[in-house]
């Protein structure tokens, strides 16, 4: 290797990383969303469109169901987190993983599992009928939408609150109890204020996820009465071709999601002091009355068992039979899905590395920090919304890229970017300063440090980021539907089509394949996470 000017290399590295990150974020995220926002504002000058009752009913339903879903998820997830952290009972680990696996399942699999368990001829109603009880559970409408959203989002609270509870120093709770506070007073006055920021940020995140829910509402809503903004945008763009309506709906979603995202970002102050290494874990919320403990645990087992276990059993039961109905034409679909997931994994990880590198090394004018803020914006944007924004901002490109894997991969990797960035940012933070000093004192240029120190040490986080981004892509359907063409079929879309044509055996078969793929990725990601960060459960 020839002699390289150190300053040129240093600046070159930083400039390249900042340019790549900025170009991607501007081209794929900021410009299209700004364009959509501007078009929405200009079309809003026509006041008559704001008096459309359908428009308002959609807005009302979207945020009302999101608030209810987030609230119920919060109640169930937080209660479960307290029970998990302070009680030891048989199959505790299994139940913890069963709860968490719900969060990583593709939406189409959840919807199908729900219909298989809670549906008219599902396992639950069949069991009730066998007992002589009239089936009373109706999976379509409010119950189905709320149930599926809680199924999805309670693990978010369970994992975040559970981790906070297990890692926090509990001497303050011990002090409170010793000062005469009852368990309830201790919970309300000491523990809740400590985990309040975690609860709030989880609530806002769950609210964002539920307000942009697409497939759950499209299938389980099953009536115009249960239409969310996301579904309405899709219908206006792809079925009614009413672009002004789509733009107006998108504007409302952008504004409200933006506000909630801002509130989500503000939840950064955490009152939690971490438990010192080696200090014993004291179970504060463990009742000394055995009966009370047993009742609480039985309640938890029942709720998680029915909500999470039941649908998964129904899926596997119908799916294993259904696999034999899958014809040869399913294989290319599976190959396309895996290819797309790999592409998304690589793209999200590459952009994530570039952003995390800027956050760590580019400090001038706060560029790194601003890029990090921008990288998290996709948390408040859905694939449908981003697809519409891209279509409107680049109409010519859209026509060319319609049905191309690249367009879908770009949208999906943008939405998966906050996840990839978080993992890689944590990876960069874990590289000790002394390694940089040692490398610099040995005469290594920043480019050599990147290649010889940083990237090899980031192998684990890069693979984790790849896995999680790919796992998101494997079940995603919004971008696929928006860039739909005859040429492309992914497994979720294949299942959706099979369901629409009442080919349920095949749908279950394909869903079980998707479920096992996701499960495999969940296990691999969990293994990797434990290896990288130690046990968190």
């Amino acid at each position: 290797m020839g002699i390289v000017d150190g300053k040129a290399v240093r600046n070159g590295c930083k400039i390249a990383a900042a340019a790549v990150s900025l170009f991607f974020l501007l081209a794929v995220l900021i410009f299209p969303l700004s364009w959509l926002f501007a078009r929405g504002l200009s079309s809003s000058v026509d006041y008559s469109i704001w008096s459309d009752p359908f428009f308002w009913s959609v807005v009302r339903f979207t945020y009302w169901q999101a608030a209810c879903s987030a609230f119920l998820s919060c109640v169930l997830g937080t209660t479960a987190a307290f029970l998990y952290s302070d009680h030891v009972f048989p199959a505790r680990k299994l139940l913890w993983h069963l709860s968490l696996v719900c969060f990583s399942l593709p939406t189409i699999v959840v919807v199908l599992s729900f219909t298989g368990f809670f549906g008219r001829s599902g396992l639950m109603n069949s069991a009730l009928a066998a007992l002589g009880i009239d089936p009373f559970i109706q999976v379509y409408g409010w119950v189905g939408i709320l149930g599926a959203h809680v199924f999805y989002n309670f693990p978010l609270f369970l994992k975040s609150v559970g981790s906070a509870l297990e890692q926090m120093d509990r001497t303050e709770e011990m002090a409170a109890l010793s000062l005469g506070a009852s368990r309830l007073q201790c919970l309300m006055l000491i523990t809740f204020p400590k985990i309040w920021p975690v609860l709030k940020s989880c609530f806002f995140l769950a609210f964002l996820l539920c307000s942009s829910s697409f497939l759950v509402v499209l299938i389980l809503g099953a009536s115009p009465k249960f239409t969310t903004l996301e579904v309405a945008i899709y219908e206006a763009t792809k079925i009614e071709f009413d672009i002004p309506l789509a733009v107006r709906l998108a504007l409302v979603q952008l504004v409200i999601s933006g506000i909630v995202y801002f509130l989500f970002l503000r939840q950064s102050t955490l009152f939690v002091t971490l438990r010192p290494a080696g200090a014993p874990f004291i179970r504060i919320y463990h009742s000394s009355k055995k009966m009370q403990n047993s009742l609480l645990i039985t309640g938890l087992l029942l709720v998680v068992g029915v909500l999470a276990g039941g649908p998964l059993i129904a899926l596997v039961q119908s799916g294993v039979r259904g696999v034999f109905y899958l014809g040869r034409e399913f294989l290319p679909t599976l190959t396309t899905t895996v290819l797309l997931a790999s592409l998304v994994g690589v793209l999200a990880t590459a952009i994530g590395i570039s952003l995390a590198y800027c956050e760590k090394h580019v400090n001038r004018f706060g560029i790194g920090r601003w890029l990090a803020y921008l990288a998290n914006i996709p948390l408040s944007v859905s694939t449908i919304l981003l697809s519409v924004a891209l279509m409107l901002a680049y109409p010519a490109v859209h026509l060319k890229l319609r049905g191309s894997l690249l367009a879908i991969a770009v949208v999906q990797s943008t939405i998966a970017l906050p996840l990839a960035f978080r993992i890689l940012h944590e990876g960069f933070c874990r590289i000790g300063d002394e390694l940089y000093w040692a490398a610099a004192s040995a005469g290594a240029s920043p480019f050599q440090v990147l290649c010889d120190i940083e990237l090899p040490l980031l192998k684990g986080p890069m693979f984790l980021s790849f896995l999680l981004a790919a796992s998101f892509s494997i079940g995603e359907i919004g971008a696929v539907i928006m860039f739909l063409s005859e040429k492309i079929s992914t497994v979720p879309l294949w299942i959706y089509r099979a369901m629409s044509q009442y080919r349920f055996e095949e749908a279950y078969g394909a869903a079980v394949v998707l479920f096992f793929f996701t499960l495999l990725m969940y296990v691999a990601a969990g293994f990797l996470e434990r290896k990288l960060y130690g046990s968190r459960s």
């Binding site: 120093d169 001497t171 303050e172 011990m174 002090a175 409170a176 109890l177 010793s178 000062l179 005469g180 506070a181 009852s182 368990r183 007073q185 201790c186 006055l189 000491i190 204020p193 400590k194 009152f271 002091t273 014993p280 004291i282 000394s288």
Partner: protein, 227 residues
Amino acid sequence: MALVVNNLVLRRREGFTLNIHSLEVCPGEILGIVGKSGSGKSTLFHAVAGFLPVESGSIRLNDVILNDVPPEKRRIALVFQNGALFPHLTIYKNVEFSLRVQKFASEDREKKVTAWLERLGVADLAARYPSQISGGQAQRVALARALVTQFPVLLLDEPFSALDVPLQRELRTEVRKLVSESKVCAMMVTHQPQDVLAICDRIAILSDGQVKKSGSPEELRNDPLLQ
């Protein structure tokens, strides 16, 4: 009103058993429990406070067996190494906490809290939050918070180890004076021999979960187990 521990047995982790034959602390007295890391000091502390279940034996306060009494009803105040002040409450609210949860009248609360804050020399910090005060000040607040309860027992877990040497000396003297005046039964757990030698009336040396030796500071001053 003495605190008495008799034939206490508690299995904590693989291969470790706490086995205390007999310990007693009288009002106005400080019993120092000293031992190396892993000797069972913290386990004894948690058991007396009520956070770990006792397998056999008894913990009594004035002939009342505390074994099945939950921590919130034991009337045993705790002071931790880091103070364990409630970070979201001001210093005033921290000290007022126990009186508030026990539903004392507000005038009564104000009188008591102000008196204790003044006594410990932290009255001017009342409006601040724990993150805005020093380690020494936090320990004084933790002491005020524990003593305002007027509970008969005070447990201190390494109360001086996070402080610098001059501050340690100052606070030791203060604790000694406060315990004598308030007539509480105080038990102090520490790994620093100088703490127990300076202020304790009696010392118990713990090793492998058992009391290996006990006596007055004068008797144990030159004991190799204490070095």
